[in-house]
Structures are given as C-alpha cells and as structure tokens.
C-alpha cells in the first residue's frame, strides 16, 4: 500500500499548525476538512493569546487577520437586578502583543490559504468516516469509498473527535465534562465600537460575565470586540443544565442576556449577522485523552486541551502549540522509522515540558472548585447587593460606613464559616 507521511483530520488551528511544521520539514501531508473551507465549521468566543506561542508560532501567524488587540479586561458579576464590574487596562497590555480577538472563519481560512501557497493539500468538503487499520496500528483514513493510506493520522477533528474515539483514545462523551457555547456575531461600525468600549483603533475589549447570565448554572457570558463586529455569547455546562430544576431552554439564555441593562446600550443598533453554537471541553487537565496510539496523535480540542479558569478561557493557543508539537514528534518518528505509540511518545513528553500541559496541570483543581453554585449564584447576587446597600442613601439615617459594611457582610453570609472555608481553599487551586 502506497502511503503518504501524514493525513490530518480537520483544518482548524491544531491541524493547520501541524501541517505548517510538517511541510516545513518536507514531509508529505494532506489536510482534510469537512467544511466548505477551513474555519467554516469552527467557532471561538474568542480571543487568542499570542505570548505563549510566540517562539513557535510567530512566523506562521505573521500577517494573520486578527480583529483587535485586547487592551481592556472586564469582568462583571450579574445579580438578577444589579451588577458589579472590574475594568482593567495597562501600558503593558496596550504596548505588547498579548492577545487578540479573532473570528475563525477568517483566521483559519487565511492560514489554510497560506499553507496551500506552500504546496500543502487542504481538501475541503471531505468528511472522514473511519480509520484504516493494519496490524493493530492506524494506517490512514476512509471517506466513503475513498481511502488515504498514511503512516500517521493526526486527529485534529475538534471537541467531539470521532476519530480519537474510534482509535479508543478517548472516553465516552460525558455531560459533566462539556459545556455548550452559543454566540451571536453582531455588526457595529468600527468607530462606534471604539467610542462605546473606550478603546482606540485596533484596540479591543474582552468582557466576561458571571451570574444571572446562566441563571445560576455553571457557565457565563462573554463579549469580545472585533474590528467591526461584536462576539456575544453564553456558555453553560451541559451536565449543569441537565440538572437544573426547572429546566432552562438553552436557546433562550443569550436572548435574556441581551436584554440586560448592562448590555443594551452597548448593543444598540448592532445587527445580528450570525448565530452559532459549539461544545467546549470543561474538564481541564483530568479530561485530557490519551495523546497518541499506534499511528495516531490527538491535537487541540480533540485531545481535550482547553482550560476554563472562570476569569479567562484558553484553547486556541493550546491547539496551535499541540499541533506543532505533534508535528515535531512525527518528524522524529519518521527519522527513526517508528510510528508506533512508543515512537510517538515524544509528543506527550514535549507537551508536558511546554506551557500546554504545565498550565493545564497547574489549574487542575479549578474545574472542581468551579463546580459549585457559589460562583454562579451566591457571589453574583451578594457582591452587587453589598455595593447597592453601601451606595444607597435615603431619608432613613445611615450608620457609619464601617458599621454598614460590617452589618451587610454579616447579614449576607460573607463571613459565614462556609464562605471563609471557601476563601481558605483558594490557596489549593
């Protein structure tokens, strides 16, 4: 059987980054993509952190169609009738290339065209149905009656990774380990975005929301500014939604979010141009699959490389780094002629040495800590309530500020043993 070196399933950031490095080393590589073009099935919140992948990815991303450089970080706790927000900006965020908002149909398409200009085949409209096997090793892919035999298959087929599951590298999909994100892209003129979000040309905002946006369920809201569009969405844990009584209709969450006073003026006149949904891995380090088998590697979301730390969400830079690292391991495997699981294990080792698994492991306890309705109902109700009471003046005499604060802290339960233990446990996460 005539084999090419590598076939990559999925022209997302993991697959394309893998192809970039492989083609740089002169390996034969084909990328297959089920969408009409690379990016046409992909969704992000979202923002891409560039710093972690600067050393490996800056050449590949040179000239990439990023939307805006994030110079403001905002977080809001939404109570049912009030909210409190933090707005951070700094010279450092403004002066350095730290993170950018992106739209995947643009970014992935641009990257695939860049690869094709380098001679890499990126085949669109191509759904892979199965893996080819030979002597207990993956030996290529099958799509309908067509087969592409290859020494190595890279499953970069996204969060659901049917290929990773067929290879037996991933556990069955469990509701607790995933969230669903629902997003609208809304058109708004560039200058209006600058004015409303208090940023300059090319500068943008990443705004995350916790609390009433998911009606107490694990998850949150997000708002990212793109060049002349906004990405607005809600993420909710699938297991948490299933456990909620009474049941909540997921498709209504975003609409309720848009009605919030905090958003109404920001969105005024903005026209929705697209609605999308995507599943997100939420189990963190403990949700990572087996990274390779005989003749196969997993990269990006397919491997479960995503991290939700409550105040920020990461995935795309893990996808890029893991795709590139997989490629390096394949180059070594080719040199030694060993494409078995053993021959590919350098992939996992390299990832372990890099920020990818280091960052994921460091935040290993975050998903467990966030699996707690304190963050989705108690704090988002209590903090804004506290501020509201402190700032409200009427005909009734008010005690001294200190006394008022103390009284409110006590009556809100913030000083209860439960909350203090929660605070104390922070050092463990």
């Amino acid at each position: 059987m005539d084999r090419i070196d590598v076939v990559i399933v999925g022209a997302g950031l993991a697959g394309l980054s893998c192809a970039w490095v492989l083609s740089g080393h002169g390996l034969q590589v084909i990328v297959v993509e089920r969408g009409d073009f690379a990016g046409s099935k992909n969704v992000t919140g979202g923002r891409l952190y560039l710093k972690p992948i600067n050393a490996m990815g800056s050449e590949m991303l040179d000239g990439a169609p990023f939307e805006r450089k994030v110079v403001r970080e905002r977080w809001s706790l939404l109570g049912s009738a009030n909210s409190v927000s933090i707005d951070h900006t700094s010279d450092r965020f403004r002066n350095e290339d730290h993170s950018y908002t992106v739209l995947r149909a643009r970014l992935d398409r641009w990257l695939s065209e860049r690869l094709m200009a380098r001679g890499v085949f990126v085949i669109p409209k191509y759904r892979v149905d199965d893996l080819l096997w030979e002597n207990g090793a993956v030996a290529g892919i099958r799509a309908g009656a067509e087969e592409i035999p290859a020494h190595v298959v890279v499953a970069a087929d996204g969060v659901l990774s049917f290929m990773g599951r067929k290879a037996g590298l991933l556990p069955p999909l469990s509701p607790k380990a995933y969230a669903v994100g629902m997003k609208e892209v809304l058109e708004l003129p560039e200058e209006k975005i600058n004015d409303r979000f208090n940023v300059g040309d090319g500068e943008g905002v990443a705004h995350l929301f916790l609390g009433d946006v998911t009606k107490g369920v694990f998850g949150g809201g997000f708002l990212y500014t793109n060049r002349d569009t906004l990405s607005l969405g809600v993420v909710a844990g699938i297991g948490a939604m299933m456990g909620r009584v009474p049941a909540l209709d997921a498709s209504t969450l975003l609409e309720m979010f848009k009605e919030r006073y905090e958003l109404r003026r920001l969105l005024d006149g903005a026209k929705t141009v697209e609605y999308s949904a995507h599943v997100i891995p939420e189990a963190g380090y403990d949700g990572i699959g087996k990274l390779c088998g005989n003749g196969i590697l997993l990269a990006g979301d397919a491997a479960g490389l995503a991290l939700n730390m409550g105040v920020t969400v990461r995935g795309m830079e893990f996808a890029i780094a893991s795709g590139m690292t997989a490629a390096e391991a394949i180059v070594e495997a080719k040199a030694s002629g060993d494409y078995s699981e053993k021959g590919l294990t350098r992939y996992g080792e390299r990832l372990r040495e890099s920020f990818v698994l280091k960052d994921l492991e460091a935040s290993r306890r975050v998903p467990g800590y966030l699996d707690n309705d304190s963050f989705f109902s108690y704090y988002p109700e209590t903090f804004p309530g506290l501020v509201e009471k402190m700032m409200w003046f009427d005909e009734n005499p008010k005690g001294s500020p200190g006394k008022t604060l103390w009284k409110e802290l006590r009556s809100s339960g913030m000083l209860s043993v439960k909350r203090l233990i929660e605070l104390y446990r922070i050092r463990n996460i």
């Binding site: 009409d36 099935k41 669109p124 995933y178 669903v180 999308s276």
Partner: protein
Amino acid sequence: MKIDEKLALDAFKTDRESHILINHDICRSRCTTRHCLTICPGHLYTFNEEKNEIVVEHAGCLECGTCMIACTEGAITWSYPKGDFGVQYRYG
C-alpha cells in the same frame, strides 16, 4: 429575536438525509427527562403528541453535538453531515 430568525441568518446546505437519527423505542421505554427538548441551542427538538415521538429538524443543526452528549440514554445517533452539507459559518 426568535430562535428561527437567528437560524435564518446562517448559511445552511441541507442534505435530504438527516445526520441525526432518533431511536424512538429508547425514548419511549427509558427516557424520563427529554433533555433534548431544552438543551439544543437551535431549539430543533420538539415532541409530537399525536405520534408520541421526538422530532428533530436537522436542517437548522449548528453541529455542536450537545444533544448527543445530553442524551445519556443513547437514543440519539449523531454524525457530522456529509462533506458539502450543513452549516457554513462566515464569521465563526
């Protein structure tokens, strides 16, 4: 904005053959929760009282896979639409 108005904004290329199959026997005999009716971001699942079965409108599927994950009884067989079909995001 209603959910069908949102879906109408997206570009879909619809296969006549559905990529979502429902095993109604499992729904009737084992499912007591019907999470599919509320968990789908496109609100594509409905219950047909007359036929006593779950109906899914595959044409508006956003291809997230949430229904398959939430159907822990395993009544939903879900695959990606064939190449050249399904939703095509222009922004993503």
